[in-house]
């Protein structure tokens, strides 16, 4: 059977269809959906099919319900009345649907995220039994990998562990696929023979890696499903074929299923760890920390039990091998925690709570809107009742109206959620684990439909209950005097003011975050970003055994790239974004004490780096090819102004000597030959730190070009120029430097947008609240207004009356909101950059926005009040 092509939401709706009809109607739906997909865009088809599914489900439920009864026509009649009623108050209908859809959409999207990323179990057999084991150092509280010998001892002394798999830490294991037209880098897993047994994963083709592969250092690989599909078209004949990694042939012995994404997401293939680790010669020590451990607990074991066994063996090892094991202890954690991280679930729960709050507010608002609509319709409904419509029938009418609205809202909300999740999938690359699996689930669709059904019941019940308390005769005579009790009005007022307060607070926060973002974006990055682009290059150690070979490569590559028309200069730096670790200890010659607390990052570069980056030389001389660090004693350095000021404030730095990191009399001193301006490559919103440049390219470098022509014109020739030096080298795509720098503030950007979106939603709800309460009071005060007008009050006066009420609400809410923002200033400060939490621009903007919008929200009820006809309001006509 082919897999269904239907959207999940549609499949969920299919379940609402009576079983008798599900099969063929589902088939029809599927056929129609495929036709829509063939004719147009996916999202249009999605919407059409989900709506279609809703209609079909409704129709067939109807058909089943009405089978053999004559009730059909009556209910059809009610439904028609309901549609007419909704159309008459279409403004309100659209408003209610949008409000509910926003609430349902936000909740559904967040619930799906939480469910996929946090709640659902990992896609492995008995995934709850999988643990990772790390070495914790009690001295500095740091988590490390483990040595081969320690892991072997752990495995031997923990009966609660069924199998213990081992992998070489994945941050070190990348390879280049060579022997193809365009070599490229991939993430590989370097694992031992027990790894797949521990994961509980069996190959879908061939075999997994064995202990024998490890012992023999066998040149074999097991492919991931993704790699197999992409590079071999998922061909079953792949076993026994070879691929070339870093210029060496490997035989393919197996293919893993899609679900295996360990030891890290994006792993393309696995090979024996012994190909990486100098096994077994280099592993006979207990100080290396290059292995990660993934183990499977036996069925009856608990995490605490495993930990107790690990504690015992850790203690023994620290006694036996105190030199490297003292204060170190093995700690087991569930694999799920490792995959998901600790902070993410927290953040997602918070988001869900926020969206649930939004949903509750949305429901309250819709309920209020409908109650005021119900009150406004009291007369219509009482007339119907007086004419003989049964109360049940009127309730049915109200129920059908609400049902139609809430179903539309549920559909729209699910569509919104699906669109949001699509965005989330597209926008968050590898940062969030399992994010690509996120989709609307049955549970979420159920929650959406359930919520809107609940809302439908409540909003239709409220006016109906109200109706039953009204005596037709009295209502017809007197309109709806006294329909609003004082206490209910008060509680509603408090609710609206609270919404306004929250809205003001969020608008202030959003404005502050956006001003911070703006400050960060316009911060001078130091480097000249126009025309600057970056590509990562990794020279495999196999083909470049020493730094002389590396130097020769970059020397050639820079020369050839600089001869490409449109490229004005080229160079390589160790790490363009400065993401690596920093040293925080610096020694200067002739001074006893090291400098601490001044963070410094060092960058091995090719000679043209400072020029290509566009950094200004403040004093001294730039680095040349002859400054390359070699066997000799001379170690020339460039430092940035920041470091110069930190080390020798007000003094001449040129000619001084320094040493980074721990002092070692055997290490040569480094001589400062020049000072360059300070840049912000670490992050546009981070304080710059000290930096040193020296001429010494390493294997892994960021290749820089500065182009005078558009990037797309030079990218191809630049790649060809680099490949002409080494055809087997993987050349990453050139990325504009500005993109990379913008990425350093993407969290800030995401925060600003998230808060802005919640602010928008809350403001919209608050305005609906203002509108609702005023609209209701205008209806309730119709007679009073009529009297005022009859005794000569002008229209402007009546309008002013309503506007004044609206403004009073707004001022109250805004005052409290601003107060909250000022009090919460110190909390906000942590998220701000370059501005104070009581930035007057942001505050003014927020206050003006809320007041203006409240004015607009009050305008419609005011206009209605002005149109009250005194004669009709007093004479009892409608």
């Amino acid at each position: 059977m082919r897999e269904s092509a239907l959207p999940r939401a549609a499949r969920a709706l299919l379940r609402l269809i009576p079983p008798r009809h599900r099969e063929h109607a589902g088939g029809d739906l599927e056929e129609a959906h495929r036709a829509r997909l063939a004719n147009g865009s996916g999202s249009v088809a999605w919407v059409a099919t989900v709506l279609d599914a809703g209609l079909v489900a409704g129709a067939l439920a109807w058909v089943t319900l009405m089978e053999g009864t004559g009730a059909r026509l009556k209910l059809a009649h009610e439904a028609r009345s309901a549609v007419i009623g909704l159309w008459r108050s279409r403004g309100l209908s659209v408003l209610s649907v949008s409000v509910l859809a926003i609430g349902i959409g936000a909740t559904a999207a967040n619930l799906s995220l939480l469910q996929t990323v946090v709640l659902s179990s990992l896609p492995y057999e008995d995934a709850d039994r999988l643990v990772t084991i790390w070495t914790w150092s009690e001295l500095d509280g740091a988590r490390d990998g483990s040595s081969y010998l320690n892991v072997s001892d752990w495995a031997a002394s923990t009966p609660s562990l069924e199998s213990v798999g081992l992998y070489y830490r994945p941050e070190f294991t990348q390879r280049t696929v060579t022997g193809v037209a365009r070599p490229y880098r991939i993430q590989v897993g370097a694992v031992d023979g027990s790894f797949f047994a521990a994961v509980g994963a069996r190959p879908i083709l061939g075999r997994a890696l064995t202990a024998g592969d490890g012992r023999l250092r066998a040149p074999v690989v097991v492919l991931s499903h993704a790699f197999w599909t992409r590079s071999f078209g998922a061909s079953p004949d792949v076993l026994g074929q070879t691929i070339e990694l870093d210029g060496r042939r490997r035989r393919i012995v197996g293919v893993m299923g899609q679900e295996v994404e360990l030891p890290r997401a994006g792993t393309q293939l696995w090979e024996p760890h012994s190909l990486w680790t100098g096994f077994p010669d280099d592993l006979g020590n207990r100080q290396d920390d290059e292995f990660g451990v993934l183990a499977r607990m036996s069925a009856e074991a608990t995490l605490d039990g495993v930990q107790a066994e690990l504690d015992a063996v850790s203690l023994r090892l620290s006694e036996l091998y105190a030199e490297h094991n003292e204060g170190r202890r093995a700690v087991a954690r569930p694999l799920r925690e490792e995959v998901t991280g600790a902070d993410l679930p927290h953040a997602l729960w918070l988001l869900l709570a926020a969206s649930l709050g939004l949903l509750v507010a949305a429901c309250a608002n819709v309920g209020q809107l409908w109650l005021s609509r119900g009150l406004a319709r009291t007369r219509e409904l009482t007339v119907r009742a007086a004419l003989g419509a049964s109360r049940r029938r009127l309730t049915a009418l109200l129920l059908i109206e609400a049902g139609i609205l809430s179903l539309i809202a549920a559909g729209l909300g699910l569509w919104l959620a699906d669109a949001c999740l699509g965005l989330v999938r597209a926008l968050s690359p590898s940062d969030i684990p399992r994010i690509r699996e996120v989709d609307l689930s049955l549970v979420v669709v159920g929650v959406a439909v359930g919520t809107s059904t609940g809302v439908a019941l409540i909003v239709s019940w409220l006016p109906a209950a109200h109706l039953s308390r009204i005596q037709p005769g009295q209502a017809l005579r007197s309109g709806v005097h006294g329909a609003l009790s004082g206490s209910r009005h008060l509680s509603r007022t408090v609710f609206v003011v609270a919404q306004l307060t929250l809205a003001t607070f969020l608008v202030v926060s959003g404005a502050l975050l956006f001003r911070s973002l703006q400050t960060a974006v316009s911060a001078d990055p130091g480097v000249e970003t126009d025309g600057l682009a970056v590509a990562r290059l990794s020279l495999p150690a196999e083909s470049y055994p020493d730094l002389d070979a590396v130097w020769a490569f970059f020397d050639q590559a820079v020369r050839r790239v600089e001869s490409v028309p449109g490229v004005s200069s080229a160079a390589a730096v160790e790490d363009f974004l400065h993401k690596r670790n920093t040293a925080n200890e610096i020694h200067t010659r002739n001074e006893e004490q090291p400098f601490r607390g001044l963070r410094v990052i060092s960058d091995g570069v090719t000679p043209g780096a400072v020029r290509t980056l566009g950094l200004r030389l403040v004093s001294g001389s730039a680095l040349e090819a002859r400054d390359r660090w070699g066997a000799g004693e001379d170690r020339p350095l460039l430092i940035n102004e920041r470091l110069a000021e930190g080390l020798w404030p007000g003094e001449e730095p040129i000619g001084r000597e320094l040493m980074l990191g721990r002092y070692d009399p055997a290490k040569p001193w480094n001589r400062v030959v020049g000072v360059v301006e300070t840049d912000r490559r670490r992050g546009l919103d981070e304080d710059p730190i000290g930096q040193v440049f020296f001429v010494l390219p390493f294997h892994d470098m960021d290749f820089l070009i500065r182009a005078s022509l558009p990037l797309e014109q030079v990218a191809g020739p630049v790649r060809d120029a680099i490949s002409s030096v080494d055809p087997d080298l993987a050349v990453a795509d050139l990325i504009p430097a500005r993109h990379l720098l913008d990425r350093t503030i993407r969290l800030r950007r995401a925060q600003a947008y998230l808060v802005a979106i919640s602010a928008l939603g809350t403001v919209a709800l608050a305005m609906i609240g203002v509108f609702g309460i005023l609209a209701e009071s205008v209806v309730a005060r119709r007679s009073e207004i009529g009297v005022r007008m009859a005794v000569g009050a002008r229209t402007t006066k009546v309008v002013g009356l309503v506007l004044r009420d609206g403004l009073a609400l707004a001022v109250g809410g805004v005052a409290l909101g601003v107060l909250g923002a000022l009090l919460g200033g110190s909390f906000l400060r942590a998220y701000l950059f370059g501005i104070e939490p009581w930035d007057w621009v942001a505050l003014t903007l927020a206050v003006a926005t809320i007041l203006a919008l409240s004015g607009i929200a009050s305008a419609v009820p005011a206009w209605r009040a002005a149109r009250v006809d005194p004669v009709r309001a007093l004479g009892g006509g409608h």
Partner: protein, 110 residues
Amino acid sequence: MAEAKLGELELLVLLAIMRLPDGEAYPVSVVNEIAEHTGRRVRRATVYVLLQRLEAKGLVSTRLGDPLPERGGRSRRLVRLERAGLEAVRDVRTGLLSMWDGLEARFGDA
């Protein structure tokens, strides 16, 4: 014979069933057939309701066909016109034809 009157949509559905080859009449094809000849987009949900009504009146009968891969492995609800259905359509046709009779001239230059 069935005494039921036929609504306009019911008539269209019955005619569509008659036009479609044997074993090819099911809700999707009925919708397409009507659209092709009249330009009217009838909702499939409506067709389900109409078919139910027509079946209750004994004018058509339905059965499930074989599962088909292009429908996600689901089968079609195939519709067949019953004798009573044919008679109902014939009655409408006779009535309409006699009503048209003599009116052709009025459409000549309209």
